[in-house]
Symmetry: C2
Subunit: 402 residues, 2 copies
């Protein structure tokens, strides 16, 4: 990715013998334009507070420092002091303002960062950043994740009739395997691009992309104290700066960013704690988007629906029952439900043909499937992504702190 | 219970060799005063619709007919016809108006009742009702329940200075082991009393009792299509009719009814699908009751909190994180959390003393425990009851329809 250098190292702060601190640095002297979306949890972690504070006074970011293993959440004044010290150490080594350094953490809640290992790790790490170490970053930020998560795309922008188009790259890494497992999992995503873009336009597409990606997924319905999405734009592509949300180029950029965020979000769900399947809950025919969203997320979060996916039981009854308790006006007579292309419910009743039951069972044996619920009330739609609820989910979460 | 006769029989409609149809009948010619609270699910089952229709035109109930195994939900016009036919057959056998018969069902969604077994079973069953068969009723309405659930109490009402007090009995049965498992579980409760009470007063205490019992429990956060609470009052105790919600006698009756409903609700949670523990989530210091309720139920429904209970992991981080995402304004600095009498969190940070961690771990090994979360914002409170989330929950629900 032009304009960025990255790296990872093992601090030994909590894990033994594995990288647990990652850095993403902008090469430009004045840093990259930064935009952030953060957790709405009222117990927001110290690094989230510090990111908000820094972005308030400085939209240019020179470096992001991420640690895995200790979340630095519910850690009071000492937690904030340690987050600030991490930024200060980084800023000092790079010779940049502290406000241009952002931090993120994931791991156990309620434990303090260990600053001695952090201070010993940062100078070497910062001195050895390279442009091709993205997979190291993706691995260093993992906790209960089973696989590193990366995604990227390239899009050509600029009016090719007047000037030549410019190739813009967008790519990033993410981690997370529960929406929250406050001990060991959190949703973190860091996406970089070489596009040149104003802060207002970057905020617009970042917020919109988050709403259509990370805000559409659920593993267990919880929201972490540490959830953080940062998007950094270096401008190294040399495109005419994107300064308007309505221009074609800006839309192209927004779509490409959204595609990367959706891909990262899907990878998080596929790697959900104990997950064996990825399920798309597609709600259409709602009277408004809020209703579509409420129904999709109620279905996506229902433990009964999720255990049925795990059991490969094409249990339409649990899906309509979950839709029925979403707090949205529904007329059962107008609702239709299908699994991939197999219609299983219409006019308030199941489609009770043996061939339908068999076809539905086959769909439920797939690794990925699509539930389509049409409410027959209007034209609004929403798609949520979820995974199944397995023995391993219970196993992972019943015994995590030990 | 004076004024009622009950019984159960095996119809073979779905289960083999076990009672699956139960009847609760009032002995009085004009029946018992009836009050009902029903599911808020938009897909409400045919028997629920019929109960509402009958109670609209006739508040006196001569009989309640309950079947287990088939829920008669999502069954369209034929479902309503079958519910109506069940009431008609019962009314004919007893020589009473059809509107005085109420019906309830629990079991698989989307299957029609089999009316031939029902018609063959009812005459004998109705001819052999007795006053001492409550446990048979409690057993006949079970589905995934492991134990029958009964509770009763007696209270003396009436001004003993002027007249002699009258002993009033309140007792009933319930079933349910998920808030919903639309295939095989639903919350049903039938409570009878010999008190004489007006319909308005009975409605008042029934609604209030339901709010403080069944509406405070959760196994998996789902709401069934069939949930039904019926309270029948025969008047056989001969007390001066309770016609005022504010009188001392009326309050005594309301408290006794609430005690029976709370006991039945606790038994449902203790028998929750896969449950190994009963946990009370006690939220105090909220700015209003709605906030207290939102926080308590968010904690009570969190899969991460519930798996930690199963793992006997005194994981305060998951509890404060769940509270933080309940959508209620919170100041982490004011929140305190304790497990039974062990304070584990205050002023935004854990109480990090080894003795505290050990004591908290001991509390988590108990079969019943109390989580007390004080928000420090006001004086409103709410208590929710929940159970843990175990391997068996997944096992039961992954493979239920097969």
């Amino acid at each position: 990715m032009p304009g960025f250098r990255v790296g990872a190292a093992a601090s030994g702060m909590r894990y033994k013998d594995r990288p647990d601190v990652a850095v993403i640095a902008s090469e430009a002297n004045d840093g990259a334009m930064a935009s952030g979306v953060f957790t709405t949890n009222r117990f927001c972690a110290a690094p989230v507070e510090l990111c908000k504070e820094h972005l308030e006074v400085n939209r240019r970011c020179r470096a992001v420092v991420v640690n895995a293993g200790i979340a630095n959440a519910c850690t009071g004044a000492e937690g904030i002091k340690n987050a600030r010290e991490t930024a200060r150490l980084t800023a000092e080594a790079l010779g940049v303002p502290t406000s241009s350094v952002l931090v993120a953490s994931t791991g156990v809640i309620g434990q303090q960062l260990r600053m001695e290992p952090m201070a010993q790790t940062l100078p070497d790490l910062l001195a050895n950043l390279r442009s091709d170490r993205w997979e190291d970053v993706a691995r260093a930020i993992m906790t209960t994740d089973l696989v590193p998560k990366m995604a990227s795309t390239t899009v050509e922008i600029g009016d090719r009739l007047v000037t030549s188009g410019k190739l813009v790259t967008i790519g990033g890494v993410a981690k997370g395997s529960g929406m929250i497992a406050p001990n060991m999992a959190t949703l973190l995503a860091f996406v970089c691009t070489d596009a040149a873009v104003t802060p207002q336009v970057l905020d617009h597409w970042t917020r919109r992309g988050a709403d259509r990606s990370f805000n559409c997924i659920t593993v267990d319905g919880d929201t972490s104290t540490n959830d953080t999405l940062l998007v950094l734009a270096s401008g190294a592509a040399g495109n005419a700066i994107l300064a308007d949300t309505e221009s074609n180029d800006s839309r192209l950029f927004g779509q490409a960013l959204e595609a990367v965020l959706v891909e990262l979000a899907r990878r998080i769900v596929m790697d959900g704690e104990g997950a064996t399947k990825l399920i798309e809950i597609h709600v259409t025919g709602a009277s408004d988007e809020a209703s579509a969203r409420a129904v999709a997320l109620t279905v996506a979060n229902s433990p009964l629906v999720k255990t049925a996916f795990f059991g490969e039981d094409a249990n339409w009854g649990r899906i309509v029952a979950a839709a029925g308790r979403a707090g949205v006006p529904l007329d059962p007579e107008r609702v239709t439900l299908s699994f991939d292309d197999v219609g299983v419910f219409r006019k308030g009743m199941p489609v009770s043909e043996p061939a339908v039951e068999e076809a539905a069972s086959r769909v439920f044996k797939q690794k990925e499937l699509r539930v389509h619920l049409d409410l027959g009330m209007g034209s609004a739609a929403f798609t949520a992504y979820t995974c199944d609820f397995s023995f391993d989910y219970v196993k992972i979460n019943a015994s995590y702190r030990s």
